[in-house]
């Protein structure tokens, strides 16, 4: 108090040494600590929600479960990993799941390319906005509603049967074909949008230059456009591929008697009450998608996500 009583001696009153002020002075002098302090909260969240959950999953895979009482015993064992790697069931289902995921990805990319090209390069700005909304619209509806809608479309007395009968065709019914159709529908927006964003960034001048130099439409698309949007296509494929790998609801709803990796995880947690084995199975899609990411890392696709 005595300091403030004699202000005449100081031109600027000394700041009060509160904790906040001292703290801010400290952080001002130590920029690295300042950064650490700022991002600690989000990092903590990311660490706990992502890393701990994933670590818990990985660790569980090395435990075992008492088959009758359902108690998890925390003795380390590689049994589950060995079972998953050597069991014919898991190999069959993995091949089936990867096959479905690849097929869905190819179909989605083939459908997405012309749509995205039209949106980015042909449509006017007003039309462009309408199309973006149209592509996004299905994402606003519940996943389950869309999957069950396909269940009724593909049914024996569904609209598809009604449409195809005059042409001698018939609905594929419930099964893997139905699963591929439904998954392709569900993930299509996730593939269109990255490719559209990639095409947006291709300068029109490059296409014109190609034309001026004598490039025909297909030559231009093949030699100019495709290499430029390749990372965007890969980015879109990561979505459709990884989402299909983990899916279990669609195949449950329209897949008939078939099952995919997700179903095995689901039944092992729900029906078999065998969390360790489920965790071990869940490692398969994780390993596959990590392999896929490692493969496409160099294309620059990850910058396009």
């Amino acid at each position: 108090m005595s300091d403030t009583a004699a202000p005449a001696q100081q031109r600027v009153p000394a700041p009060r040494q509160s904790l906040a002020r001292r703290g801010s002075a400290f952080f001002s002098a130590h920029p690295r600590l300042r950064l650490g302090f700022l991002i600690s909260a989000p990092l903590l969240w990311l660490g706990i929600v992502y890393v701990v959950a994933l670590a818990a999953l990985l660790v569980t895979a090395f435990w075992s479960v008492d088959s009758f009482t359902g108690e998890i015993s925390q003795t380390w064992t590689f049994d589950n990993i060995v079972t998953v790697l050597t069991g014919s069931l898991y190999q069959t289902v993995t091949v089936r799941t990867v096959g479905v995921a690849l097929l869905v990805t190819v179909i989605d990319v083939l459908i997405a390319l012309p749509i995205a090209f039209f949106m980015a390069k042909v449509a006017g700005s007003r039309m462009q906005r309408v199309l973006v909304i149209a592509v996004l619209m299905p994402l606003w509806a519940s996943y389950l509603v869309k999957a069950y809608a396909w269940r009724s479309v593909l049914s024996q007395d569904g609209i598809l049967q009604w449409l195809l009968t005059p042409f001698g065709g018939s609905t594929p019914g419930y099964g893997l074909t139905a699963t591929v159709i439904t998954l392709s529908y569900l993930w299509l927006p996730y593939v269109i949008l990255p490719i559209y964003a990639g095409l947006e960034r291709v300068p029109d001048a490059l296409l014109e230059a190609s034309g001026d130099l004598g490039g025909k439409t297909w030559t231009t698309l093949r030699l100019v456009t495709l290499p430029l949007i390749w990372p965007a296509i890969i980015a879109g494929s990561i979505f459709s591929f990884s989402l299909s790998l983990g899916d279990y609801l669609t195949v449950n709803i329209v897949g008939g008697a078939n099952q995919m990796l997700g179903n095995l995880v689901y039944t092992n947690v729900g029906a078999a009450n065998n969390l360790p084995l489920a965790a071990a199975i869940a490692l398969i899609p994780i390993a596959i998608i990590f392999g896929y990411l490692a493969l496409v890392r160099r294309t620059g696709a990850l910058d396009n996500l």
């Binding site: 929600v49 959950a53 818990a56 009758f68 003795t75 709803i253 008697a257 039944t267 009450n273 065998n274």
Partner: protein, 394 residues
């Protein structure tokens, strides 16, 4: 083990912090089984004021789903026990939920009850403390799925059969045998449905009892390695003809209505729920049927054991038992319940028909100790059935 795991409490705290189902589930595993075998209560004390109940959908209705369906409120008014309830969809889900220790009472089917006993999750029940137990049909009491070594583990609720349903336009002549879904299944290839659970293996075993007597199966829930292998072979052959498996009963209703499924396993409640005009019928084939008989059980660590006893007594009363079993679509367990059910509903489920009931092989948990009394072999347990079921589905 000590080295790799932090103490349970810290682990649980961490799991809560992480707020992920996965972490929470692993924490459940660490809480460990305390053995010691709880004893049945000998006397009842004052009611605690609350009771939490785990049950199949439609078993504990307090009017919140449908104002006209409410048998919980009278119980609350009479006993002062406020009911909180949670429903589960499969026996396995119910078993997992019981492990959390949050529930005082569970309505368990036979494929879960013995596992609950073995895991020390439920306590013996002193039926002398439950006056309405006297009114329960004798053929439901002290069965292999609700008692162990002559000790009762609960009060029977309702029972029903896994029937054969078929589309009368497509499947003719009317089937009298399960062979329409097994040996003659290819006639309806792609349009057959089956219940999606390891316990469905018992249906195949029951079929083999009649058609392959040299396997010497006497109880479809007591299968040795060889008998299980035969059932698995039958089901693997059937797999090629299956259109889809069902566990969600709404899915099978839709499937029968649209004609995507024409023959397969069903429940009476599904047959009752089909829209009028669907050309279907249900039958009890000559080989018999599997079915369920549910039991109200009390958690070994119940926080409100007295209210739990009060609930067991209440739900076994003719009025409450009639309401709950009619709403779900099954036969009641109380002999007097039919007086309180709507006309014809008891007949539809063959309530109290001991002869009909004797044709039903009630769901039981397959255990290593053979349920049919054989001691010279080890039987396959539920884990083996689960593995087999996943192999069958492929």
């Amino acid at each position: 083990m000590k080295r790799t795991m932090p103490p349970t409490r810290r682990h649980v705290a961490l799991a809560l912090l992480a707020a992920t189902t996965l972490a929470a589930l692993t924490a459940c595993g660490t809480s460990g089984a305390s053995s010691g075998g709880a004893k049945a209560a000998s006397t009842l004390g004052p009611n605690e004021g609350t009771v939490s109940i785990l049950a199949w959908p439609g078993y504990v209705e307090d009017g919140s789903n449908d104002p006209a369906v409410d048998w919980v409120t009278p119980f609350e008014n009479d006993t002062g026990c406020q009911v909180t309830s949670k429903t589960y969809g499969t026996s396995d889900e119910g078993f997992s939920l019981m492990k959390t220790g949050d529930y005082d009472v569970i309505a368990a089917s036979g494929d879960a009850s013995l596992r609950l006993v073995a895991a020390d999750l439920v306590a013996p029940v002193n039926t002398d403390l439950i006056p309405n137990y006297a009114g329960v049909y004798d053929f439901l009491k002290m069965q292999s799925w609700n008692s162990v070594n002559g000790v009762s583990y609960g009060v029977p609720h309702g029972y029903g059969a896994n029937l054969l349903m078929y589309n009368t336009d497509v499947v003719s002549p009317a089937p009298t045998s399960w062979d329409v879904v097994f040996d003659k299944g290819s006639a309806y290839k792609g349009k057959i449905t089956a219940y999606d659970s390891p316990i469905y293996i018992a249906d195949a075993a029951m079929y083999l009892m009649t058609h392959q007597p040299d396997l010497k199966i006497t109880n479809p829930y007591a299968l040795d390695e060889q008998q299980l292998a035969a059932a698995v072979t039958l089901l693997t052959e059937q797999r090629a003809n299956i259109g889809e498996y069902w566990s969600d009963y709404l899915k099978t209703i839709q499937s029968f209505e649209s004609g995507d499924t024409v023959v397969g396993t069903t429940w009476q409640v599904i047959a009752n729920s089909l829209t009028a005009g669907t050309p279907t019928a249900v039958t009890v084939p000559s080989e018999g049927v599997t079915g369920w008989s549910d039991t109200w059980m009390i958690a070994s660590k119940a926080k409100s054991p007295n209210c739990a006893y009060a609930w067991l007594n209440y739900i076994a009363s003719p009025e409450a038992n009639a309401q709950a079993t009619e709403y779900f679509g099954e036969a009641p367990s109380n002999q007097a319940a039919c007086e309180f059910r709507s006309a014809g509903s008891c007949e539809a489920y063959h309530a109290g028909d001991a002869d009909y009931a004797s044709k039903i092989w009630y769901w039981s948990t397959p255990i290593a100790e053979c349920l049919d009394g054989r001691t010279d072999v080890k039987c396959t347990d539920y884990a083996a059935w689960t593995t087999a079921w996943q192999q069958i589905k492929g």
